[in-house]
Every structure is written in structure tokens, then in C-alpha cells.
């Protein structure tokens, strides 16, 4: 096996061990267990142990399974799109803005749609910041406007134009029924309709967002859990400079 071929590790290389837990809409019993075993077989596993089967409602049984996954993948062939920027600090960022742009940059941020979660966008924008990393409002060279939550796309765009924003920051936490996708997309479409898309650096963020998803939806980058403000600022400055061709 070439050294880039990998599969799951239990306690020996390539043993393939995976733990699964799921529910089937059947009553518990030997037949249900057998069904779970067969089902996991269809998922490309072998040596399947249905170690636990538990009735959790009439006609529903929850299983815990350990099994060996069969496939391998070539790790060297795995490609992932990450937002490209050098992570620099508070002072370096302010310096860079002063030197290269020569005026404070301006941002608006909000949680759009009916999503009421502000903690994520606040962590990035509010003064106090997140994980000992100052929020964007604290940067002397950044004018940051945080509109809070439950903001409509219309309001957000209006504000962005009003403050001549360089970038728009959008947060989404509720992801049920793809509501984040819908909201993110709505904003992109409205901007596109008014020919404003290229005017702003567009950032998406939230607890189920990653860069790949954001880029796919038309944003410049996406940031998920654990993001600190200086990362966002670092990306922004890189990106604004790029837009300006500097």
C-alpha cells in the first residue's frame, strides 16, 4: 500500500474501525439487529458488530455499531480550498491599512433573515472580541458597523452603501431547512441585481459555515467556529488590496 492510502484507525494501522449510531423505524428484536447489520454492510463495511440495539419508541430502534470500513482514499489527492491570507496581528493590520490604503476601511456586518443569533457576529465585531483577540470595532483603522440580528438584506445593503463599506460581513447560525443557504443566496442575488457584487468584499460566517461553502455561494471567503477577529481582518486587508490591485 502506498503511504498516501489511508483508512480509519482503531488500534492498528488500517484496521478500518468506525463507530456508528443510528435509528431504524422498526421494532427491536433479532430481525431488527440483522437489518442493521445488513444495512451497514451496504455502507461498505465488513466485520460488522451491532453491539447495542435499544427500543426508543414504538417501532423505532436505535443501534450502536462497530465495523471495519472497506475503502481507502489517497490522502495526497485530497484538495481543500482554504481562504488564502497571512495571519497578521492587530498592530500589523492597522499599520498596513495606514500605509497601503491611506484611510480607515469601512465594514458593515449583520445576521440576516429571521436568525436572531448575534453572538457569532458580535465575537468578530464587538470591541471586546473573542478568545483574547480584539474585535474589529477596536481597530483604529477600521470603521465597523454591526447591525445586529434579524436584519433584512435590503437594510444591510442600504447601510453598506451609506457608509461606503469596503466589505460586508454576514452571519448565519440557524441552518435548518437550509435557511442559511437561502439567506446567503438572497443577499448575493440582490447585490448582483443591483450590480453591486464587485463593490464589496463579501464574507460569510457561522457555526456551520466553512470556506468551501461560502465560496460556492459566491462569497469571497467563509469562516466557521473558532475564528478570531484578527483572522478576519487579515483576510480583509489582503483581499481589499487585491481588489484595488495593490
Amino acid at each position: 500500500m502506498s503511504k498516501d492510502l489511508i483508512k480509519p484507525y482503531g488500534d492498528t494501522l488500517d484496521d478500518g474501525i468506525v463507530q456508528l449510531s443510528f435509528t431504524l423505524p422498526v421494532e427491536n428484536g433479532p430481525k431488527a439487529k440483522k437489518a442493521a447489520e445488513i444495512y451497514v454492510g451496504k455502507l461498505n463495511f465488513e466485520d460488522i458488530h451491532v453491539v447495542h440495539a435499544q427500543k426508543i419508541a414504538d417501532n423505532f430502534t436505535c443501534f450502536i455499531v462497530y465495523a471495519r470500513a472497506v475503502p481507502t482514499i489517497d490522502y495526497s489527492a485530497v484538495k481543500v480550498k482554504v481562504a488564502k491570507f497571512e495571519h497578521i496581528d492587530f498592530y500589523q493590520i492597522n499599520d498596513l491599512i495606514k500605509k497601503k490604503i491611506g484611510r480607515p476601511i469601512s465594514l458593515v456586518g449583520a445576521t440576516i433573515g429571521s436568525d436572531a443569533h448575534t453572538v457569532g457576529i458580535d465575537a468578530i465585531m464587538n470591541m471586546k472580541g473573542f478568545k483574547q483577540d480584539y474585535g474589529l470595532e477596536r481597530y483604529p483603522q477600521i470603521k465597523a458597523y454591526n447591525l445586529g440580528a434579524q436584519v433584512s438584506c435590503e437594510t444591510l445593503i442600504k447601510k453598506a452603501l451609506e457608509v461606503k463599506a469596503d466589505a460586508i460581513l454576514v452571519s448565519q447560525t440557524v441552518t435548518q431547512k437550509e435557511s442559511h443557504i437561502n439567506n446567503f443566496t438572497e443577499l448575493i442575488e440582490r447585490l448582483a441585481a443591483d450590480d453591486l457584487k464587485e463593490k464589496f468584499v463579501l464574507l460569510a460566517g457561522g457555526h456551520k459555515i466553512n470556506n468551501e461553502l461560502a465560496v460556492k455561494l459566491g462569497y469571497d471567503a467563509g469562516f466557521g467556529p473558532g475564528t478570531v477577529p484578527s483572522q478576519v481582518a487579515s483576510f480583509l486587508i489582503t483581499s481589499i488590496l487585491q481588489k484595488k490591485g495593490k
Binding site: 426508543i56 419508541a57 436505535c62 429571521s114 436568525d115 436572531a116 448575534t118 434579524q150 440557524v174
Partner: protein
């Protein structure tokens, strides 16, 4: 239960301060009403259903009445006049108004005496309806007893009431004592109560009277099957607090989320509107014996659970004081608090015990609502499961009342059926193996736990003094709760607030306030 021995003089002081703060708000409340209070009166009189465009009739009627200008008098009198004019019941009268067959501008002359009499009798019927719900519930509990506390509270939130019923049944099978149907995201911002059963919702299922009924029937069956009375919860907070309270009462709900400030802080609803609405909604709850749950736990999702612990206590005291003004008795006060301390803090569990015990001793007769960790829940579901296990222990040890089940997938998604089962396995385990732990240990005299509880109470006292000085509305504007600032005239729903005229009439409220 272990004790922290609060000084009773200090307890009196903080309760008095809270009462004084509530008094000031109450003065404002009694001078005002809102469109949703008026719609509630219509619902209590018997108006239900929707018009041809899908607008709920209470909204359609109140809108017409508003359009007519003269709001200070309240809806009761003109509507009763319309009833007298039509000679029909409330529902039929409402239909006639909606169809334009009766106009508010031409109700004709009726003697004050006649109108007042009719108002009184309709109001009495309304109260009777609340009373009969109360009695039905008492009767059910007589037949199928309530389980012991802490009551295991599980949420269902599929968006589809029929799927919710499946989830609820499963939860009861696994040991749940209380089922809460979470509302669809942002329903609290709707200035009406949706009508009919619903199968589409994001993050939850719409609170509608029809949905209440479907769930109540399922839970009545489950109660019988499992030999313990299963309570049903929904959410009143938002732009329709009192209307939802009325609908809930009609369908024999047991518990409503009903906080005096949640909507203001977390939904950006105007504070005047909220204070007005919560008062009437609580009067209804008191009458129908609907236990209220307050939302102090939410504060700790935006502010720090150690640093701002006193804001929770202060808010509980204020919520209690306001609830008492709305005639809610101690046994109906599910004051909220939460297990939300950063698990990286050394001795976090001792802080949690101190906070939980403080709440327990400050409100000894209230069935406190205890919220599990949410903010520091990890996407590592195994770790999160440990956090919930410790929460379960804290709850049973300090004798909490309403135990919201912590779910191992809290940081991921609304619970799957199997998540709920796993959660209940932990709860059942802990409640059993540590059932009497609280009775068998003591907190060291002047030890860490006792001192911490006293410190929080000291900070609470200080904070209440300040709030009492500036007034609650100003305090909220300053961001004293949950680190969220809300201006006096900001937020949604202010346009539905109006000042009562000298001729304001709301005989239901009068009766609720009297008895």
C-alpha cells in the same frame, strides 16, 4: 437539601426592592393597552378562525377597529355593541364585522347599562372557560399523578406537528415528564397567532391552537399509557403573549414560557409593548393555572455566567414581583436559571452548585426551571454528554423543579429522536443514583459554595438598588441584562401600544384582577 443559610433580612430587602421596581412598571402598564391585549379579549369572548385572506379574525377585527380611530376605550365595548346589534354570538358577530356587514362606525345607540351588562356576562363566560380548563387539569392530575421533581423536560422541534407527536411519544417512552413544542424561528415576531395545524416550520413548529390540541391529545394518551401526567409546554413570549396564553388555556396547556423581559432583550420587541402584554398574559395564566417559565437562562448565552450571575438573580426577583402582581402563586413560578459556566474554569461545578442553591433558597416554593449547558457545549458529543451528566447531578442535588434535558448534540442540531433517548438515559441514571445526595451532604459553613452564593446575592442587592433608582426601563436601555441594550422606543410592536382612555373598558381584566 444542603443549605447556604441566606440572611433573611437580606432576602427581605431584595424582595422589597424587586417589588418596588415592579410597581413602577405596573403603573405604566395599567395606563396602557396593546392591540394584542385587545385581540386577546376577542379570543376570550369567543372569536377564532381566519378571514378569507387567512388573517386571524381577532386581528382583522382589531385592525378595523384601530382604523376607526378611537382606540382609548378598548375593543370590548364596541365589540359587545356589535354583538348586541347582531344578536349573534361572538364568532358570528366577528364574521359579520369582517364581511363589512357591521361597521364600528355605525353601532348605534345602546344604553351604557345594557352594554356594561352584556360585557360583564361575556367576561364571566370567558373566565368560566379559563376555570374549566383549570378544573379539567386538576381532574386529570387527580387520576394520573404528577411525577416527582425534578421534572424531565424535553423539546420537540421538527416543524411538523404530526412528526412532533412521534418525537414526543418517544420522549415520554424514555422518561420525559414534560414536552415542549419549540416554535418556528421568529414566530415571536409575528403580530398574530397562526391558525390551524401546521407541518412547515424552521427550528420548530408554529404555536397554534390547533397544534396545541393535537399535542395535548397525544400527551393525554401517553399519560395514561405511562401512568404519569405529562405536561405540555409552549411559548408565549413575543408579540402575542396574551393571545397565546388564551389559546393555551383553551387547550389545557400546563406551562408557558412567559418572561417579562425575554422578548425585549432577545427578540428586540419594544419594552412597553412587552410589559403590557406580559401582564395580561400572566393574569390569564394565573387563572387557568398555567405555570410560567421565565428566561433568565438566556442571559448567560450572551454574558458571562460567573461575572453576571447577579443579573440572573435580579431578573428572577423582578419576574417574581411582576408575576405576583399578576396573581401568580409560588407554585406557578418556573423562574429560570442555567448551568452555563465555562468548563475550563477550575471548580466550575462548585460555582454552579452555589448558583443553583441560591435560586433554590431564594424561591423555596417555586418549581425552578433549570437550563442545561448550551453555550459551552462542544461539537464533541461525547464531551457534551459529560457536561449534561454533571448538570443532571447539580439539578437533583439542589432540588430543582423543571429540568430541561441537556442534549449531547446541542452544538449541532435540534435533537434527533436518538439524541433525546441518550439524554434521558443520563438523566434517569443520575436522578436514580444520586436521588438523596442533596439530603446527605452539607456545604461547608463559610466555605467556597456558601461564600459564592452570598457574593451573588450581595451583587444582586446592589444591582437592584441601582435599577430601582433609575427604573427598569432605563436599566434595560443601559444594557443591564444580558449585555443587550434596548432603547425605550426601539424594537418591534410599539405601534400596537396605546394609552387607555378614561373610558377604557376590559371587563375580563377587571375580573381577573379582582378574584
Amino acid at each position: 437539601m444542603p443549605h447556604i443559610l441566606l440572611k433573611s433580612a437580606q432576602v427581605n430587602t431584595v424582595k422589597k426592592l424587586a417589588s418596588s421596581i415592579a410597581d413602577e412598571v405596573q403603573q405604566f402598564v395599567s395606563r396602557h393597552s396593546s392591540v394584542s391585549v385587545e385581540r386577546t379579549v376577542l379570543r376570550l369572548y369567543g372569536v377564532d378562525g381566519v378571514d378569507s385572506s387567512g388573517t386571524p379574525l381577532p386581528n382583522a377585527i382589531v385592525d378595523r377597529w384601530c382604523a376607526n380611530g378611537e382606540m382609548g376605550g378598548g375593543i370590548s365595548r364596541p365589540f359587545i355593541k356589535a354583538m348586541l346589534k347582531s344578536g349573534k354570538d361572538a364568532q358570528q358577530t366577528a364574521r359579520l364585522i369582517e364581511e363589512g356587514k357591521i361597521g364600528f362606525d355605525k353601532l348605534g345607540d345602546l344604553s351604557q347599562e345594557t352594554v356594561r351588562k352584556k360585557e360583564k356576562s361575556r367576561a364571566r363566560q370567558a373566565i368560566a372557560r379559563l376555570d374549566s380548563s383549570r378544573k379539567r387539569k386538576a381532574e386529570k392530575i387527580r387520576k394520573i399523578p404528577l411525577p416527582v421533581q425534578p421534572w424531565r423536560y424535553l423539546i420537540v422541534a421538527t416543524g411538523n406537528i404530526h412528526e412532533d407527536v412521534i418525537q414526543a411519544r418517544s420522549a415520554v417512552y424514555a422518561g420525559s415528564d414534560i414536552i415542549a413544542v419549540i416554535r418556528s424561528t421568529a414566530q415571536s415576531l409575528l403580530d398574530y397567532v397562526p391558525y390551524g395545524f401546521t407541518t412547515e416550520g424552521v427550528g420548530g413548529t408554529y404555536a397554534t391552537q390547533a397544534n396545541f390540541k393535537i399535542m395535548r391529545e397525544a400527551l393525554d394518551e401517553a399519560s395514561k399509557e405511562h401512568g404519569r401526567y405529562i405536561r405540555q409546554v409552549n411559548y408565549a413570549s413575543g408579540l402575542c403573549m396574551a393571545e397565546i396564553a388564551a389559546c393555551a388555556a383553551f387547550e389545557d396547556l400546563d406551562i408557558l414560557l412567559n418572561d417579562s423581559m425575554y422578548g425585549i432583550l432577545f427578540r428586540d420587541i419594544n419594552m412597553k409593548r412587552t410589559f403590557i402584554d406580559q401582564y395580561f398574559s400572566r393574569l390569564i395564566c394565573a387563572r387557568a393555572k398555567i405555570l410560567i417559565n421565565t428566561g433568565e437562562d438566556n442571559y448567560l448565552t450572551t454574558s458571562d455566567a460567573i461575572e453576571d450571575a447577579h443579573t440572573v438573580t435580579a431578573s428572577q426577583l423582578i419576574n417574581e414581583a411582576m408575576a405576583k402582581k399578576a396573581k401568580l402563586t409560588d407554585d406557578l413560578l418556573g423562574l429560570g436559571h442555567a448551568f452555563e459556566i465555562n468548563p475550563a474554569i477550575e471548580n466550575a461545578f462548585l460555582y454552579e452548585l452555589a448558583h443553583a442553591q441560591l435560586a433554590r433558597e431564594l424561591f423555596p416554593k417555586a418549581p425552578l426551571k433549570y437550563m442545561p449547558p448550551t453555550k459551552y457545549k462542544s461539537t464533541d458529543i461525547f464531551f457534551s454528554h459529560c457536561m449534561d451528566t454533571m448538570f443532571n447531578l447539580s439539578s437533583v442535588t439542589t432540588g430543582q423543579g423543571i429540568h430541561l434535558a441537556g442534549i449531547l448534540t446541542e452544538a449541532l442540531h435540534t435533537p434527533l429522536m436518538q439524541d433525546r433517548f441518550k439524554s434521558l438515559s443520563s438523566i434517569n441514571y443520575i436522578f436514580n443514583i444520586a436521588r438523596s445526595l442533596g439530603d446527605e451532604i452539607e456545604f461547608k459553613k463559610d466555605g467556597f459554595i456558601t461564600k459564592r452564593a452570598r457574593q451573588v446575592l450581595d451583587e444582586t442587592e446592589k444591582s437592584l438598588e441601582e435599577i430601582n433608582d433609575i427604573g427598569l426601563m432605563e436599566a434595560i436601555s443601559q444594557g443591564r441584562f444580558a449585555n443587550i441594550q434596548r432603547p425605550l422606543d426601539g424594537g418591534r410592536g410599539l405601534d400596537g401600544v396605546f394609552e387607555k382612555g378614561a373610558d377604557y373598558s376590559n371587563p375580563v381584566m377587571d375580573l381577573l384582577e379582582k378574584d
